[in-house]
Amino acid sequence: MADNSHTRVVVGMSGGVDSSVCAYLLKQQGYDVVGVFMKNWDDTSDSGVCTATQDYQDVAKVASEIGIPYYSVNFEKEYWDRVFTYFLDEYKNGRTPNPDVMCNKEVKFKAFLDYALEIDADFVAMGHYAQISKDQDGTIHLLRGADDNKDQTYFLSQLSQKQLEKVMFPIGGMQKTEVRRIAAEAGLATAKKKDSTGICFIGERNFRKFLSEFLPAQPGKMVTIDGEVKGEHYGLMNYTIGQRRGLGIGGNGQSNDPWFVIGKNLDKNELLVGQGYENEHLYATSLDATKLNFIAPIDEYGTDFHCTAKFRYRQKDEGVSVHLNDDFSKVIVEFDRPVRAITPGQEVVFYNGEECIGSGTIDHAYQSDRVLQYV
């Protein structure tokens, strides 16, 4: 085995099983491993309990079991300024942002990366389900994680070559079941810890209540596309395109089909609702997006090409035709078949086979030439 003892790898440890196993595997391979916990959000309650405490305690336990030093670093300010502010701004504009994409771009692979380099890291390792391949000339390609169900490239699609240059994803080639098995065999304290769900800073809390602490809710009318009032909404920011739950409209329509959010009218503060999962207003044929990022140069593709795309995390890929403008500042994406509930603010992420090419942020959805009233 190669002597890795002079290669320092700083592992981002969240207190979850994935990053625990990352640290464990690297230590097994003989690297000089340093565990670092990121504290990005201050949610200390009145009783002084902070949810990061439990996670940090788990980091401490696992790091001691593995035999590596561990530290904690505070990025609350960076997270607030670069992620949360953006998150609120997007909601104010009636969109549905993806803070995890921004967190990776601005905190985990920027502020944390800088910190790791400052403590002399040769590499930074993360517990993401994603893989990296390097060309002979050093060009980096981001590949899907081997576990289809866990692949996290969607969240990494806004990263640059420089951000990925020193990154390792030690469990990217594994299945989640394998990761759990390794953790259990090694006796790591987090082996059976439940996976975290939801947006990190909201956790298991009520989303509407959380948001209302930061943005004043402006209730308004729920109307059909024909202008018929069907009820009251709690503020447009609390709804996303294609949502069914929480509308509180009983049948009383043209059919017994359930009601769905089919659009938003920000000017009139109206929520557009329609009946049926397959409501025609929920199906788009194309979208446009900006804030484009391509992980590796895409010269070989040209400005017009066919590939696959995801419009939300964990959706199945759809075939798409991509049309870039000349300076790569905007893209029009035509779908091979209509796609349901395209949501402005989310990322459209492009794939060529196993490779994640890059992404853009969705601005508008179209049905043929007609823009769908989604924001």
Binding site: V34, F37, K39, Y56, S72, D120
Partner: protein
């Protein structure tokens, strides 16, 4: 890797004499000092002897003024909450400073939530209060003034003698948290007119979870720990005789001459560290001041443009233990309330400073190694 320990204001390693004394006491004196049997009397004898050694160390009038506790935090909590409980009929106003240890500030916050009023005296950029502020803050209903002898983060020393004089003329009692100062300075509770004084054994090469509260004979506070009649009903719980014996041993070997020698050595370390860093082109400023009147074991330095957390981690990875304020329960650094009180919350010093604190086992070679390590880290 060679490890260097420069966090002696946090805790200190135990002295060999202390360890030997504790081992011996653990073997020979296991009795319950309150018991009226042979073993109890043996334990009681050790306890009385230790109490005497410690009473003498601060020139207490009599040995019963020393109450053994679990350490600095318990002593502070007892002095503050116990005094408030005992004297609330006299008044409900207390005075302290912005730069006290949490073990003083949190009990103060607790009392505020129970209807007491607390005045927090500000400090200047040297971490010192003004005596005229204190005079102005004192009222007829002030029952306690709690001002630390020396600060744990920046080493500033308070004018204890003058404070004692001022408070003696009021209705208030004077408590001082001497946890940092006790191992380094000769304290005279009578000359300084101190009513209550807190200490901790592990700051002077003694065991952890051990300390004492001095309480002047004519004062009585409400005990926090209620139960048995130990410590003349002022602190229930069977005394930890081996730990107390270790504490007394640590006090005994820490003679006036030794304290003076330590002060001199640590003061030289401060200059060696700052001068050495500057000679290597490191931009560094002292938070507070270097002066023989300050606590000589604490040095707080501002490394311009360098984040404390990364510096601290880098030093630790090179085997050097220092500190930077306190960590939250999730391990990340909290902005120091002491530096904030001295410089304002916007000052870059708050996130760019480290504390080095010296102890009996440090040498000038340790300081040279730290200078070299910091230079490597900062110039990398």
């Amino acid at each position: 890797m060679k490890y260097i320990y420069l966090d002696n204001a946090g805790t200190t390693p135990m002295a060999t004499e202390v360890i030997d004394k504790m081992k011996e006491t653990m073997k020979d004196t296991f009795g319950n000092a309150s018991a009226t049997n042979y073993y109890g009397r043996q334990a009681r004898m050790v306890l009385d002897n230790c109490r005497h050694v410690i009473a003498r160390s601060i020139n207490a009038q009599n040995d019963n003024e020393i109450i053994f506790t679990s350490g600095g935090s318990e002593s502070d909590n007892t002095a503050i909450i116990g005094t408030a409980a005992a004297r609330q009929n006299v008044g409900k106003h207390l005075i302290t400073t912005c730069i006290e240890h949490e073990a003083v500030l949190k009990p103060m916050h607790f009392l505020e939530s129970r209807g007491f009023e607390v005045t927090y005296l500000p400090v200047d950029q040297n971490g010192e209060i003004s005596l005229s502020d204190l005079k102005q803050a004192l009222r007829d209903d002030t029952i306690l003034v709690s001002i630390m002898t020396g600060n744990n983060e920046v080493g500033s020393k308070m004018p204890i003698h003058e404070i004692g004089e001022i408070v003696a003329e009021s209705n208030a009692w004077f408590h001082t948290d001497a946890v940092q100062a006790y191992g380094l300075l000769d304290i005279d509770v009578q000359a300084d007119q101190i009513d209550l004084l807190s200490t901790s054994a592990h700051k002077l090469n003694g065991p952890k979870m051990t300390g004492f509260l001095y309480c002047r004979t004519d004062h009585n506070y409400e005990a926090l720990i209620k139960g048995g009649d130990q410590e003349l009903k002022r602190r229930a719980g069977t005394e930890n005789i081996p730990a107390i014996a270790g504490f007394a041993e640590a006090v005994k070997i820490n003679s006036s001459e030794k304290k003076a020698a330590h002060r001199k050595a640590y003061y030289a370390f401060k200059h060696q560290l700052v001068d050495g860093l500057r000679q290597n082109g490191i931009e560094v400023e002292v938070n507070g001041k270097i002066d023989e009147g300050e606590l000589s074991h604490v040095l707080n330095l501002w490394f311009k443009g360098k984040k404390s957390d990364a510096l601290l981690t880098n030093l630790d990875l090179k085997g050097i233990s220092a500190s930077a304020g306190s960590a939250c329960t999730a391990g990340s650094l909290e902005p120091s309330h002491v530096l904030t009180a001295m410089y304002g919350e916007k000052d870059p010093r708050i996130s760019e400073s480290l504390r080095f604190s010296f102890g009996a086992f440090n040498t000038s070679a340790d300081i040279s190694a730290v200078i070299q390590a910091l230079t490597e880290i900062i110039k990398r």
